[in-house]
Amino acid sequence: MGKKAVGSGQGAGCGVRGAGRKATGLRALHPAPRTLPAREYSGTELLICLVARIMENRKMAFIGTGVPMLAAALAKKHHAPGLMAVFEFGGTDPALDCLPLNVGAQQTFQRAISAVSLAEVMEAAQRGFLEYGFVGAAQIDPFGNLNTTVIGEHSRPAVRLPGSGGGCDIGALCWRTVALVPDHNPRKFVERLDFMTTAGYLDGPGARERAGLPPGSGPYRVVSNLAVMDYDGATRRMRLHSLNPGVTVEQVRQNTGFELVVPENAGRNEPPTRDELRILRREVDPRRLYI
């Protein structure tokens, strides 16, 4: 096994180049040609840009590996220099000049402002410091509740998924939870979850508060490969917010397994700008670990 196989170490602690040799989860979904023309972009790149645009300046964001991390790095370099990325295992605002493959990896606390513990960052979230939280899911329902635990019965599942991890905590403790679904289809957007790992709006208005979840917190956006969704203020049901480039309302409807609220004035998401793509490709992930 040659030296290349274990990483060329182009930056401090970046010895993971080998990761580029095999498609990880993200790459498998949206393979991006190595040299995209500036006007073209991959699905993953669009997703990253859509998530990045959600993140405002001077906020703290709970970040997992993958899209949210790339989006945070992009947002920071593009429009939100004061955004603070917080990783679940304790790293806070690391330099991120190379990208971690684990939420506990060295890059999550390298030249960070602090490197503490899982409890510490979860408690910061419980105290209200974490504005954004990002979660993936195998299933999402009309109220933004999420399943990452099992498909089928809990005691003998057809597919055993990893479990909550920090997902359920994020859904409970962060102010605004953003769900990421890179493959928008009716098996993901379902009327009823097999298992509610993470609280969205539970069964509707006021339900979170009745359950004891912190007032004012809850689902904020769903970002998929087809569109961005938000929630109706009165019914707390998922609503189309804006369509991705080239996607129609009908396409979104057909790929959603429940009745989506569709407003008259659904917006349209701009494709990644030249600026966004340049930063993403040259500064955020120049070694193409993820994109």
């Binding site: 295992f89 790293g91 990896a105 060295q106 479990g163």
Partner: protein, 321 residues
């Protein structure tokens, strides 16, 4: 008020913990260096509840996880949080009960071992979350039987947990009460400690602070042993003081094939080999034979995966702070 339907594998027992500590813990410094073999033989028993730190393929106590599989104490319960270490225990078939938080490989995909075990109904699973597990350890680490929290409320995660709903007597708020979790054995890999076990960790300590205090027995593996004077020079850096520690195992490259921050990078091809192998039962069996039961010690394992030269490369791939 309501409570989860999940099994509570370890009942909070603050008084029992106190008695155990008084009778068994090494209150004053003694040299605890021993081999993986001796540490696991003395401190991990069939039926034990085992928990590890850190997470993913990062600072996982792999040399000790392999030794546990090698010696094979069965009927284990585990805190299902960690990474390859926990996944390896699950793959080995030694585990019967899981307080599950997250067993999987993040961007690298699902755990084949967990998926098969669960689908076959061969394991009893109670669900929790990252924060819940941290706070359960924290309650034990504080010497109290439970800790209130605001997570898990309203979910199936709560329903399949063993947490209890409670109302705050001061604020009237509905809270999720989390039972203290004191594992029989905690296993943690650290950057350095002295021969007594006073340990420093570089970077985040994940659940290590709480787990080290919550565990009845605690096995440390360490990249290197340093003189006590080095520890006493910066007592602020001691994350784990010696009186918590039962065994100190010197295990250079103890996290291989995962990374050890500031020390060596992840060995990606070896990680891929593991992920690939554990997709099937046969693959898993072959992997365990070759990499776990084959070598008789951590040193033999290191030789098998490429030896000193290869490991040096992993060090070079990780460029300090």
């Amino acid at each position: 008020m309501g409570s989860g339907e999940g099994a509570l594998f370890v009942r909070p027992d603050a008084d029992g913990f106190r008695e155990f500590v008084r009778a068994n813990k090494p209150h004053s410094p003694v040299d605890k260096r021993m081999s993986e073999r001796e540490a696991v033989r003395r401190f991990v028993r069939p039926g034990d509840y085992v928990a590890t730190d850190l997470y993913g393929m990062v600072r996982a106590p792999m040399s000790l996880a392999r030794e546990v599989v090698r010696q094979g104490p069965g009927d284990l319960s585990i805190a299902g949080q960690g990474g390859m270490d926990i996944d390896l225990l699950v793959a080995s078939g030694l585990v019967r009960r899981i307080d599950n938080v997250y067993i999987g490989h993040e961007v690298f995909g699902l755990s084949g071992a967990f998926r098969r075990l669960a689908a076959a109904g061969k394991v009893e699973v109670t669900e929790w979350t990252n924060a819940a597990l941290a706070w359960r350890f924290k309650a034990a680490a504080m010497g109290i039987p439970y800790i209130p929290s605001r997570t898990m409320l309203g979910t199936d995660t709560f329903r399949r947990s063993a947490a209890v709903l409670g109302r705050c007597p001061f604020s009237g708020k509905m809270l999720c009460l989390l039972p203290a979790l004191a594992p029989d054995v905690g296993i943690i890999h650290v950057h350095r400690c002295d021969r007594f076990g006073n340990a420093q960790i570089d970077g985040t300590y994940g659940l290590g602070f709480e787990l080290s205090r919550a565990s009845r027995r605690l096995i440390l593996s360490t990249e290197r042993v340093v003189p006590g004077s080095a520890i006493r020079k910066v007592p602020e850096r001691t994350v784990i003081p010696h009186y918590l520690v039962d065994a100190v195992v010197v295990a250079r490259y103890g996290s291989h094939p995962g990374e050890m921050c500031y020390e060596y990078a992840m060995d990606r091809p070896r990680v891929d080999e593991y992920l690939e192998a554990t997709r099937t039962e046969e693959g898993t069996r072959a992997y365990l034979e070759k990499y776990v039961r084959g070598p008789r010690s951590h040193e033999e394992y290191l030789e098998l995966v490429g030896g000193r030269r290869h490991l040096r490369r992993l060090e070079r791939a990780c460029r300090g702070r």
